[in-house]
């Protein structure tokens, strides 16, 4: 809610000059366009002297930097002039570390990264970058699915889905704020962990978990601020993957989940349920740290 009044709403895109980076950039641009945010496109180059073996080579560093500048310029030209944007080159020990530092530097409310290569069947796999980022970021992180680059910026944000589990708190708050900024409808999704050891009576489990899911939705509804409309859906299925696959998804949709309860306060960490969701989800996922800013 505070997001609307804040002047500089910024989104950091972790860019690489490949398909994964294009996915991240397209998603970042789409969210930025829909929320009138400005885009900070960041390329993170490795710090040369971080190792103890290979001597630095300023000539090579300069060449890599020029290449990075050319790549950024190309990416920027591809975006067109509709989105407010700035290009940056930063140095860090790792991509994730550079992005977290950039998010702090720009006061960004969202960091967007692309999928790891090798995701099967067009679904998203968590790569080492996203994984490191999810363990260290204190701002929401958006994971672009494979192929996000094919969706035009004009597609906008057609729906914001909040995945509410036992404790809706920050996810709900973040989703409400994002939906409001983007003038997009809000949907509440209840997923209750149903992965149980084999041999347990599935009928009984389905019954209890459906009841729990309904309860979680009710809880989330009660927490909605006055005047905010939201549709609601309960995902059912034998497994999380199955339930996620059975739901309807709009191409321009975004899903928000909270980070794991195991994560340190204000740090992201993707829980088991969210990891399984991500595998099936055809749309981007935003992971919101517990007790942190809203995207």
């Amino acid at each position: 809610m505070t997001a609307n009044t804040e002047p500089g709403y910024r989104i950091v895109v972790g860019y690489t000059a490949d398909d994964s980076g294009a996915d991240a950039l397209a998603l970042g641009a789409r969210v930025a366009g829909a929320t009138e945010a400005s885009l900070e496109v960041v390329m993170v180059l490795p710090i040369e002297a971080r190792g103890g073996v290979v001597p630095r080579d300023p000539g090579h560093e300069r060449r890599v930097k020029e290449q990075a500048q050319a790549w950024l310029a190309e990416a920027s030209a591809g975006l067109g002039g509709d989105v407010e944007q700035a290009l940056h080159i930063r140095y860090a020990d790792s991509f994730a570390e550079g992005l977290v530092a950039a998010a702090h530097e720009f006061g960004a409310r969202l960091v967007v990264v692309g999928p790891a290569r090798g995701g099967l069947f067009g679904r998203t796999r968590i790569g080492s970058v996203a994984s490191e980022l999810l363990h260290s970021a204190d701002v929401p992180v958006a994971l672009a699915p494979v192929g996000a680059r094919k969706l035009p910026v004009a597609a906008g944000l057609t729906r914001v889905t909040a995945a509410v589990g036992g404790t809706p708190g920050v996810v709900l708050e973040a989703s409400v704020a994002l939906a409001r900024r983007a003038h997009a409808p809000l949907r509440l999704l209840s997923l209750v962990p149903i992965d149980l050891p084999a041999g347990v009576d599935t009928g009984l489990v389905n019954l209890t978990s459906t009841v729990a899911a309904e309860q979680a939705l009710e809880g989330a509804r009660r927490e909605l601020p006055d005047g905010v409309e939201a549709s609601a859906v309960v995902a059912t299925g034998q497994t999380i993957e199955e339930s996620v696959g059975a739901l309807d998804w709009e191409p321009g949709e975004l899903v928000l989940v909270g980070s794991s309860r195991l994560a340190a306060p204000s740090r992201l960490f993707l829980g088991g349920t969210a990891t399984k969701m991500l595998r099936e989800l055809p749309v981007p996922l935003i992971v919101v740290p517990r007790a942190a800013q809203t995207p």
Binding site: T16, A17, D18, G21, L45, P46, I47, E48, A49, R50, G51, G52, V53, V54, P55, R56, D57, P58, G59, H60, E61, R62, R63, V64, K65, Q67, A68, Q69, W71, L72, A73, E74, S76, A77, G81, Q85, A86, L87, H88, I89, R90, Y91, D93, S94, E97, A101, H104, E105
Partner: protein
């Protein structure tokens, strides 16, 4: 990976943007833009390696445990007990050329190094061949490195197997099977390629330990050798004499040249400590000190270990005598057991870790040179491709790896003394491209020679004398190596294998160059990289 919050204050600078004029571009300067007045804290932390760090990198690049095991035998074969003298003399041309290298590097920092500098000084043809010489030298050393690593890998495994009561002999014997040997070597090269491609680097902290360990093991090796001599348990106790330091006792000029040409290799890589320090702008005393300390440590270790090995094993031609051709191409492999006894495993680990760091640093250099050559249009554009994820010269790295792998495989089957022959060939290639680089320095700075004593020495005298010594070494080696008995005695049809290798490598360079001249005439018309001459003092 530590993250220092104090380093988060970044300095920014605006850059003009050719494609999208309205989009601002900022870069955190990590001392990339040399001479940047607003050097940020982040930049300094990225750039300064400090005195100890510089020494560690220098020693890692020289990789004393690896180079000594490879060079000890071939040098002894040429100069006998005058090994210490030859090691000391071998340093002189390397030092002189390194001075020229440093001058060029500060005037024209470029990842193409010898290629770029020779092109600027002498034009595209000479420059192209200098680049080729550098790439050939590094590819040859890559195959030698991997070969040494294979031998010590099986030695280490056999030592572990023997410790647990297994059949150590059988494991150690695997290395003699050319197929097992080649496959293991290819696996090592593949591993090194992946590491290089993905830019995974050993952290400074780990490298400190590895280098410390390496030095400790070598000192321990020398001490143990002398202890055996004093105890009367040495294989062939040979008293240390002052004549070991007298090169005139070697006998023939040819033998001195052959010894020097091998000993160049033991100091190869040291020059990085000189150039590396150009970046530590904060302190002007670090450069010289790091380089001096590195070379002092390395020379002391070389002399101590070489003398220990000579005193322990003598020059006999049987068993572990250093005169035995069987053991000459990988001396520590055979000496570690007799000298260190049950602790021989630590020597294997020291050589392996030394080879591993040398593989890491060596891989970078041909790939970056190929990248520069691609960039300036001297080779296909593909070579200038930088990996979008790892920012390494991806294509060039893979090509270097494939060539090194093929080279090793072919050599393993045509030569009985692969490691020896590759070291000797390497010596010749080092003479070739270091020599050209030295002369490039002299010529490029010709207008500034007489502007002060500093210039006179570092831009004319030092590189010229160094280059001249290397030129003499190059041509003498080339002529002498025609003799089928030269070096290891490998030959094809009565012509020394080292000669054939040297000529084939250089002629292949000429052929590829002419082919590129036809395909890419722009470079050879100096359109991308023009000849030039320095007219400023520094």
């Amino acid at each position: 990976m530590t993250h220092d919050p104090a380093n988060q204050h970044l300095a920014h600078e605006a850059h003009s943007q050719p494609h999208a004029p309205n989009v601002p571009l900022t870069t955190a300067s990590a001392t990339v833009d040399g001479g940047d007045p607003g050097l940020s804290k982040k930049g300094l932390s990225a750039g300064s390696v400090g005195l100890i760090g510089a020494i560690v990198i220098g020693i890692s690049c020289i990789a004393p445990a690896y180079t000594l095991t490879g060079a000890l035998g071939p040098t002894v074969a040429e100069v006998g007990t005058q090994l210490p003298a030859i090691f000391l003399i071998g340093f002189i041309p390397m030092l002189l050329v390194a001075f020229g290298y440093r001058e060029l590097n500060s005037a024209m920092p470029d990842s193409g190094t010898s290629f770029t500098w020779a092109t600027r000084a002498f034009g595209p043809w000479v420059g192209w061949m200098a680049g080729w010489g550098l790439i050939a030298a590094t590819v040859v050393v890559l195959s030698n490195l991997a070969g040494i690593a294979v031998e010590f890998f099986y030695l280490a495994v056999s030592q572990v197997v023997g410790f647990f009561g297994g059949d150590a002999e059988a494991v150690a014997g695997l290395v003699r099977n050319p197929f097992v040997n080649v496959i293991t070597c290819l696996a090592f090269i593949l591993g090194a390629t992946l590491i290089s491609y993905r830019d995974m680097q050993t952290t400074q902290k780990l490298q400190y330990w590895l280098v410390g360990f390496q030095l400790l093991v070598m000192i321990g090796f020398g001490v143990a050798a002398f202890w055996h001599v004093a105890n009367g348990t040495a294989f062939d106790a040979t008293p240390v004499e002052l004549s070991w330091f007298n090169p005139l006792e070697v006998g023939s000029f040819s033998a001195i040249v052959a010894g020097l040409s091998v000993s160049l290799f033991v100091f190869w890589g040291w020059d990085v400590t000189l150039t590396m320090n150009e970046e530590t702008k904060g302190s002007n005393s670090t450069p010289g000190r790091a380089a001096t300390l590195t070379v002092t440590i390395v020379v002391a270790i070389y002399l101590f270990v070489a003398m220990g090995a000579l005193a322990f094993a003598g020059l006999g031609s049987t068993d572990v005598g250093l005169g035995n051709p069987e053991i000459q191409e990988n001396a520590f492999y055979y000496l570690a057991g007799p000298i260190l006894g049950p602790l021989a495993l630590v020597m294997s680990i020291a050589v392996l870790s030394s080879s591993a760091s040398s593989l890491q640093s060596t891989f970078v250099s041909p790939a970056r040179t190929l990248l520069a050559m691609g960039h300036y249009g001297a080779l296909p554009r593909k070579f200038s491709k930088v990996s979008p994820r790892f920012f390494t010269p991806g294509y060039a790295t893979v090509v270097s790896a494939i060539v090194a792998a093929v080279f090793y495989t072919v050599m393993r089957f045509i030569s009985e003394d692969v490691l020896w022959d590759t070291i000797t060939t390497l010596g010749m290639m080092i003479c070739f491209y270091y020599g050209l680089t030295a002369f490039a320095c002299v010529w490029y700075f010709r207008k500034t020679w007489f502007r002060g004593g500093r210039n006179l020495f570092f831009r004319l005298i030092a590189p010229f004398v160094g280059g001249a010594i290397l030129a003499v070494l190059f041509f003498t080696t080339l002529i002498d190596s025609m003799d089928p008995a030269y070096g290891s005695g490998s030959n094809i049809g009565g012509v020394g294998l080292v000669f054939i290798l040297g000529v084939v490598i250089l002629l292949a360079g000429v052929v590829v160059m002419i082919w590129q001249r036809i395909k890419r005439p722009e470079f050879f018309r100096s359109e991308h990289l023009a000849r030039g001459v320095a007219d400023r003092d520094s």
